[in-house]
Amino acid sequence: MERLPLKSKVLSENQIVAESLRERFRSHGVLCLNLISGPGSGKTTLLERTLASFDPATRVCVLTGDIQTDNDARRLAQYGFPVQQITTGGTCHLDARMIERHLAAWDLDGIDLLFIENVGNLVCPSSYDLGEASKIVLLSVTEGDDKPLKYPSIFFKSDLFILTKIDLLPYVPFNAEVVEANARLVHPGIEIVRTSATAEGGLDAWLAWMKQRMAQARQDALVPLQLS
């Protein structure tokens, strides 16, 4: 009997592809954001309203993942920007190879912003690096204000927490202060914005966060990669 030490990561294959995607995004000045939530939290609606707010010259693309149907791609394509559906056929998350495969159709030089809408699932997508600059977790006020404690991994790994559907707060037993405190308990540095896709100006905080990050991505593209 012999014990061979193994020092690699279990998902090292995914990690290698994700790191190469991250460097491609960085060098082309593409801000890649990976949106993750349970089904029905409002990822597609947030993206619809976000795309609708853009000038038609905005160089934005969307990859949207689902287990079945291309409903989301059809919804998102109405806004005139390039959209591709990734149908996983049963898999509960997107992985880096799926992103790499679908990106082959696009020239990264022509893109400033890439949204990845992950499969609706608050657990599995948190394990897979897609080369994104940031994971973003969405949670709606119709879910539960203890969700960050029940699903800590995704709140821990996300840079931004978008609390959605806040126009419904008067009608549901949900405490926005409690959910934000719970998110900060799990991840003290997490940024938080509250959104409503139906109220006037309901996305302002989110759009401001995104524009600031896009400006940062353009800056980062000017810096040559430091090889260690």
Binding site: E2, R3, L6, K7, V10, T91, C124
Partner: protein
Amino acid sequence: MHEFSIAESILEAVRKELASHPGARPTRVGLRIGELAAVDVDSLGFCFESVVQGTEWEGLQLDAQVCPQRRICNGCGKEFAVVEYNASCPMCACGNTTLSSGDELDFDYLEVETGGTPAIEVKGAE
């Protein structure tokens, strides 16, 4: 249920590792899984059993060690175990802390039986 994909990744890694150890028969693969890794250890064990079933490594055991979340306080420099996902430092109440362990999904070891197996006789008969 991404545990099935993870189980397949484990088997793939075992296959690769064994390529440089001809004749070795794997008996147990050790993993370190952080409590923030979003992996259900029981479910992974079940998926792994199904993945190895019918392969030459049927019966290969998975040994998953769960690693609790630990953080280092950037204020007082002390390391502490995180209780109930509270990431603030229990010593100085500082909220500026950095994870030191708890999100890993790493291999630890591969236990193999070597010597006296038919594989070695086959090699000698070349």
